[in-house]
Amino acid sequence: MKAESSSKMKSRTYDMAVIGGGAAGLAGAVKAAELGMDVVVLESGERIGGIPMQCIHPGFGNFYYGENLTGPEFSERLIEKVKLTGIKCYTHAHVEGIRHVSDTENMVSVVMPAGITQIRAKTILYAAGARERHAYEIGITGDRVSGVYTAGEAQTLMDIYGIMPGKSVVIIGSGDIGLIMARRFALEGADVKAVVEMLPYPGGLQRNVVQCLEDFGIPLLTSHMVTRIVGKKRVERVILAEVDESFRAIKNSEKEIDCDTVALAAGLVPNIGKLREADIDIDSSTKGPVVNEYMETSLPGIFVAGNALAINDYVDYAAEQGEQAAIGAHLFIEGNMPSDWKPIRKGENIRLVFPHHISGGRDVKIYARVKKPVRDAVVEFPEIDKRVRKRAVMPGEMIIVNLKKQETAGIDELTLRCADGN
């Protein structure tokens, strides 16, 4: 807010207001600027770069850059491009509301250190990421003591601020974030007592089970849940129990683990509060907005990308979605957005699929997740005889299907299914 007075901002109409300066938002902003659009980025945190800035392990950029980078390296490349293209970024900028005035005008109400202001934009790219599920959402009761963190909070403390959250740790949830934080704690000298998982199998990639747990001798307790956190001022121990097939605690299976810290890696949920208030259509399986192939929501000109759209496996996908949104916003402003959309439906063993609508007029990438693991799987769109064979599909690993323009020309709808290939 130094360069421009808020009154000047009010009178200006941006081509695109990007909400969220993480991977999806920055990749989208850069793409939009490259297409000649006038862009502003609104970031609520201290700095742009997003969550990858605290994910200091490798595994980022394999698809987007064709290189294996750490999170900060991935984000720094985007930040570099933002600087080169001269995109205006406001930090400490909290979006308080979005108003879809008309199909060519949106008002974003922003709280910034300089005050409250309204930003007018023809299009919006909503890239506010995800939030972490907390203890109360997964049925953990007990004392309200210090030492309970979400995995992301613990990661911020350690890898942004250089502060150790605790000495002996129980991690709840064995998704990739839980596994990676188990290793991170162990590397910095904490005693990681256990990773507790409700399902009978680990939630994260095999690679992370091996390199984050087995490398450090960290026990993985599957089919277990933490039922209670106990302590006076600080966490002193957790009470856990074995669970049956319907995830109910089995009587007399309770045991205790002494620890001073609990890190909750209980999953992510798209952070779409402001979009919900704007009354867009939501997909109950992704818990994010319903979108077309340009990541446009049910409100014309409002786009969404990254973990606000759906929880992605890789930051690379978030960045790609941001770019698609920028391409879409450009078409929208030029008045060239297609109007005829064909639905993509969920068939056998598909838990979620997006984008939800395609035009049939260009190549498009389909992201999906299965409900159950299948070996020697066939992933297919029966209507167009499109078949992809996979050695194994798992709920924790997104399926990507690239559809060519010529494959989808003339279709009315498509159904994605995943069956046993034998």
Binding site: M53, I56, H57, P58, L69, T70, P72, E73, E76, M158, D159, I160, Y161, G162, L187, E188, G189, L205, Q206, R207, V209, V210, Q211, E214, D215, R375, R391, A392, V393, M394, E397
Partner: protein, 121 residues
Amino acid sequence: MEIKKMTCILCPLGCRMEVSIEKNKIIRIEGNSCPRGEMYARQEVEAPSRIVISVVKCRDCNLPVISVKTEKPVPKERIREVIDSLAEVEVEPPVNVGDIIVEDVAGTGVNVIATRSAERI
């Protein structure tokens, strides 16, 4: 003969493999479904190595710490030494991504480089 159990990490299949070792030599690999599994098993038995990541203190910086990594994988059994030797490291700004923070860390022959940039406050 020693039998080492391991899980292949190269694809979601996660083959459970058993590697038979005699006099420090692999004599049999079982359980893999493809040649990549065999390659992985050999690597894990003969020279398991990992990229090591951490943070180091940053004096007079806009950030209290910056993230670092080993430029190449280091032998698995040296991870602890690498981490311990980073505990005392303090860098000064400016730091750019890719800058060498520690040369030949803990005598591994591998450099530790910055993965995040920092400016002077």
